[in-house]
Subunit: 341 residues, 2 copies
């Protein structure tokens, strides 16, 4: 058993290492405006949860003590040395690219408490910064020093993941214009839009370290489960956390008419979710809307679904050796649905 | 010696094959709006010059008669079978992604004689269609069946090429806001923005077929040379070809204040190129501006530079066995600066 404090310090320790690696691998060089825009959101913050999952899974499959091995020359079970930090940076850079392009598409002004990239710079630069991070991620994934066959497997996972993220975002946009969306459709959408990147973060280290197919598949499933739980928790936080703690407008999903598992449940209870708030709602209006959702049981419904996914994800970790890294991965699953921001 | 007619039919034959492969590998599936937007520009036309270069280089290095071998199971010199069409589609799909995003950034309404993707659909869908093609290109490059080491080399080339294309586009945007741009800076910009994708198209087949480093590097240089010549010819065509033949507004570079080797030369002759045309110029105004550039010797200067690059590119083909494929690759170099659209 691990404690929330140990989980949070495990995340913080790896975040610091990943941040140093980002600075090292993505320096602000010429053309300076392009690279400074590419770094802007990465420098603005972020918990680095996906890279943390990637690094912890490596420690679990190689059965080494947490932080005892250098992530740049990480020992695979068969003796190969793998630069796992390069893979971790690759995943974080993909995450950053999708946020930059999503903010343009959704015309969101704020992200991580600072202006979104297209607001701080301009739309042209933001499109191009996202495109640059996209190819950089593939460059980094090729720089792990893994045997060619394993690199090909990791690159293939990265490419299909990116395609699915685009499909998920397309579904998300499509849903906004539709009156009827089923819970199954919503779950497929968040699987593509959000969960597949957790699945990549969880399975790619196993690929690079030469694990067997069963291990890779189980870890992929862990990532999908906790990634879906993460998205549901994100949807909950959008409703329940004040704007200043959230780093963006509270209730923005309601304003934008986004489908979430919460509003889908509420609709099934007969609530007219498209009419819950005005276009520029006051805090009191948001509060009243959330109260209606809570009374309808929609908040609890979403919480339970997230908890079930976390339970399922933790079960899939049984493929890993017991020990501190596995315990921390279980703790991260819990953290994703217990976090307050 | 080959004739322009044989070159044009070699391009047409391979275009038809590549178009079939695009339909096969990029079907319009769910989410339909996303995939239909992703296919839209590919279906609107295009000469498929880069895939044609890729396929002809394969025939040259494997020393097989043109179109005598199946591109899906193409024989490498060492007996491996490579799906070169998948690599050809990958390159064309990257080209398409860059055009879609460039049109958003430049706010161009027309492309290939039809509305640009963000005009036909919307900006959100166009960003996402470009992003989808981006990852699809990496998927296709992984599906050639080449030995893993060669796949890694090809993917690495593709990734750095995409990064350089973004850097080139950033430089292009930066130049519009600057009064002084040197010819060296311009040539670096078009190398990144345009020529590197020709270099990838020329070198990747050699990588996949297992050629030695000298051959790969020479072919890369051929691509860079003809790619730069192609861009200079594009700049010339923008000035000299009527809008209806061009598929977009004639003289748009002058209106948008784009730096080209033509306007850079004219500026050095003392012409105020930022004041040559108004914001919505008539045909007569464009014609008068082009006359001034012609009198200043700027048109001829650009033509000569393109011709020199074509000559240099052809010299680099000496690394290939003599024969019909090599002759066609020489002919394509000439075609790039002789084409009228």
């Amino acid at each position: 058993m691990t404690t929330p404090e140990r989980v949070e310090s495990a995340i913080a320790e790896r975040r610091a290492i990943v941040n140093d690696a980002v600075e090292e691998q993505l320096p602000i060089k010429k053309p300076e405006r392009l690279y400074s825009a590419s770094r802007y959101l990465l420098d603005a913050g972020g918990k680095r949860l996906r890279p943390t999952v990637l690094l912890l899974i490596a420690e679990a499959v190689s059965d080494v003590d947490p932080l005892s091995a250098d992530y740049r020359t990480f020992p695979a079970p068969d003796g190969e040395e793998i630069d796992l930090l390069s893979a971790a940076v690759s995943i974080e850079v993909i995450q950053s690219f999708t946020l930059i392009h999503d903010d343009i598409m959704d015309d969101d002004d704020l992200r991580r408490g600072v202006p979104s990239v297209h607001r701080e710079y301009d739309t042209e630069t933001a499109i191009l910064a996202g495109d640059t991070l996209y190819s950089k991620a593939f460059e980094y994934m090729l720089e792990t020093g893994a045997p060619a066959g394993r690199s090909v497997e990791a690159i293939g996972e990265l490419a299909t993941t990116c395609t699915e993220i685009c499909e998920g975002q397309a579904l998300d946009i499509d849903f906004e214009g539709r009156s009827e969306v089923t819970t199954e459709e919503y779950l497929e959408m968040i699987e593509f839009k959000t969960a597949v990147l957790y699945a990549a973060a969880a399975s790619i280290p196993a690929m690079l370290l030469g694990c067997d197919r069963e291990t890779i598949d189980s870890l992929h499933g862990y990532g999908l489960d906790i990634g879906r739980a993460f998205q549901i928790q994100d949807d909950l936080l959008d409703l329940t956390v004040p704007s200043d703690e959230l780093g963006k407008q509270r209730g923005s999903d309601l304003v934008e008419g986004k489908r979430t598992v919460i509003t889908l449940h509420a609709r099934n209870q007969g609530i007219d979710v498209d009419d819950l708030v005005s276009d520029s709602p006051t805090d009191a209006e948001i509060e009243a809307a959330v109260d209606r959702l809570r009374t309808a049981g929609s908040i609890d419904f979403a919480r339970e679904m997230a908890n079930e996914l976390v339970g399922s994800g933790k079960d899939r970790l049984e493929v890993l050796p017991e020990g501190e890294p596995r315990a921390l991965l279980e703790g991260i699953a819990d953290y994703l649905v217990e976090r307050k921001y």
